[in-house]
Subunit: 454 residues, 2 copies
């Protein structure tokens, strides 16, 4: 290293140290303002997290591997690989964003092409870089990564599905991933699902998993799923990714039907901040490797039990994503009933769940039902002030166009201290209903999202 | 200078810029910008406020009075009265909320009834209580207040317009207002417009006024307006109210036409937090008391000049409301061009302006254009990734489906330090355009809104 070279390096090192010091000072300067009004510390792990990652059953015909490829992060795993046995059915659901990422377009094309399942399939996911808004280089990266997996595992590239989550608009350094594919392939194992769940985390504060088991004809059918997401949605680091595996034998069309059917009550019924990722993806794979007979009818006893179990796993994972909402300290269920139409029920539920004023009131433990009235009013749905009934938990706060006669401010305020809240809105106009799940809006959300990208 | 040499220099320069940004953030973090979350004292004045309340011209035929009636606040004025000369034309625009307040419904009914203007008119406004979601008692309060004004001033009650802004769902203690009407009437004066602007403030940190003067036929035409609002929208305390007065002689239908025409580019083109008040109201009154001849045609030279001046006053007041957005530290103009339809342009502009992730990035002075891509994608409007062009100020950051070739992160970051920002989105699909105005989302917004109601 030359002399000026060394001078510049010294200068850079000194500045780096200064940046570190300033960041630390800034953090502590912001600290007194950071806790929620009630004085809660912004925890490393969401206060709404489950006690531990659940024990998930192994799914016959699925193996997992995870590795640290250094896509963006250091010192942690950031790529997962799942291999699916020959004959596996695959179904999916993806973001409707018009600026969706290359890997999403690729998954959609592959699922539409309906390549025969005979030769097996695979799913590869990286965190740290979303490969979104990366022009033609985006598809190039997808082809390289899925091609490497296809080559190594001996499955058709048309059956290798990929997802990427992380920063938008930066080229994906895909060679770091393809270089690790042989090692990933060599370490595939049935029991690796928790490692996979950890490898796909970004701003998540805990890995998310859920499972179910039902009695099929001839033996049990098992379902196990993992998810990541910490905004519905943060385009930077918050995409929602969900992978669900089952050893059931079921045709792709039937599987897709069930996934689509339960989407509206699970992953499409959650919102953290109303923003939609360019990369949200849900993939469900059924290996057919379990002992149970094929699910040939969705109306059979087994078909109905399978649907219920799959729906429950989807809802469980969706709720876990909300529990890890950026800065969340409260889990909120918004139950809308009595709407004139299903669309109106949806509009009102989302207007309440997305209102910054409702969400900040919840953060402040303020039983401010007036803001719920406001949100109903702005939703665009049919509403009649004099038929509207608003409740928090079991308490009716407002009805007949006014505060409820037995409204008790103290009781309402006490209710708001709970970690899980139910806000009820009955429109009194019809029979349509919709329940959505959200969290509060806190200082921590601002901290996370007003921060630098790196 | 050698290659590694240059690399180290670049690195040092980048770190230097980062040090500068961090020092600035630290400075503002250490300043008393963020009072204790539950410390009730709202705000110093918004950093985006104009230096002083402007000198507004007296409008012939309009008198103002303000008084402290103790509706909710103590130690400040909270009711304003404006008397309009006989023959005044009145036009208006109101919230479309389905849970709108009693005074809004009353104003709409009165404007629709088109009572002859001969006998004069009045406007009475209180802050501190919104008289919204107060059942039948709401209309009772409106009748009492407008009745008292009609009686005292000798004008028909059907020509007395009222607004209320403040807490929702609590009965309006209207006797406190009616008791003060005689005193208000006795102190009416042409020069009282600034006192009126102050009386209607709630969470506002500065009173808002704007004016214009054009040459009419036979003499000048003057316009003066006042506004309040500090969310578009906070249902608690943040309703937007606007009153504009002119001495022009113009028929009510023509006046209403101009008001409606410019609404979409002014008050309907601003958003602080996407929430819509139950009580937003804009009333424009033309007294016909100036020296100029009647504006009989909107296509005449005077007609066009009047339209331009009225539009400019509306836009000026609208922008001032954004400048007082709760917790705002940045004023942001979102310019959407090249949309396939006007509806698409509106959807994209509002999706960007309302995105919590875009708004927190702006608060953090992070040139995170990926979040703008995300907002375009979720808007529901037609968009083509490869035709989209995103710019901050004069800098093109992304085009042709990727980061712009000459993208310069340091330059982009430096731009974000400005207090006024322009985000440009060209969809490259058509000719429709829309510009909206918003502010950033900061800790202070959470402080203000996670606080208790009283």
């Amino acid at each position: 290293m030359g002399k000026t070279d060394k001078n510049w390096k010294d200068r850079a090192d000194k500045l780096k140290a200064k940046v570190k010091r300033l960041e630390k000072r800034l953090q502590s300067a912001l600290a007194p303002a950071t806790p929620a009004p009630s004085g809660k510390k912004p925890a490393a792990i969401s206060p709404l997290a489950p006690a531990a990652f659940p024990a998930l059953p192994a799914i016959a015909g699925v193996e997992f591997a995870a590795i640290a490829a250094g896509v963006r992060y250091t010192g942690r795993s950031d790529v997962m690989l799942a291999r699916l046995a020959p004959g596996s059915s695959v179904a999916g659901a993806f973001t409707r964003s018009s600026t969706r990422a290359a890997c999403i377009l690729d998954c959609q094309a592959k699922l539409k092409a309906k390549v025969p399942a005979g030769a097996g399939a695979a799913i590869i996911v990286n965190s740290g870089n979303a490969n979104a808004f990366t022009g033609a280089a985006g598809q190039e990266a997808v082809d390289a990564v899925t091609g490497a997996v296809a080559h190594t595992l001996g499955v058709p590239a048309a059956r290798v599905f990929s997802s990427s989550t992380g920063v938008i608009g930066e080229p994906l350094p895909y060679a770091r991933i393809t270089a690790k594919v042989p090692e990933l392939a060599a370490t595939l194992a049935e029991g690796g699902i928790e490692l996979a769940a950890r490898a796909i985390m970004t701003t998540d504060t805990f890995p998310k998993g859920a499972s179910a088991e039902i009695a099929g004809e001839g033996g049990p059918i098992r379902i196990a799923g993992i998810a990541k997401g910490s905004g519905m949605i943060a385009p930077d680091m918050g995409t929602m990714l969900v992978y669900i595996f089952t050893d059931a034998k079921i045709a792709p069309a039937k599987l897709q039907h069930l996934v689509s059917k339960h989407l509206d009550t699970s992953f499409n019924a959650i919102t953290v901040d109303s923003d939609t990722s360019t990369s949200d993806a849900l993939i469900v794979a059924a290996t057919g490797q379990g002992p149970a007979a094929e699910v040939t009818s969705l109306r059979s006893r087994t078909g109905r039990a399978f649907e219920a179990a799959l729906g429950a796993v989807m809802l469980d994972l969706a709720r876990q994503v909300v529990r890890d909402g950026e800065g969340a300290t409260k889990f909120v269920e918004v139950r809308v009933t009595g709407a004139a139409t299903a669309e109106d029920a949806h509009k009102v539920a989302m207007a309440v769940a997305n209102s910054p004023l409702v969400k900040t009131a919840i953060a402040g433990e303020d039983a401010n039902w007036g803001r719920v009235v406001m949100a109903v009013g702005k939703s665009g749905a049919s509403a009649d002030r004099d038929r509207l009934r608003i409740s928090f938990g079991d308490m009716v706060l407002a009805e007949n166009g006014w505060r409820a006669p037995d409204y008790d401010e103290e009781k309402a305020s006490a209710y708001m201290e709970a970690q899980e809240l139910v806000i009820g809105v009955d429109l009194g106009l019809g029979t349509a209903a919709k329940t959505v799940y959200t969290c509060d809006l806190t200082h921590r959300y601002i901290d996370i999202n007003a921060d630098y990208r790196s």
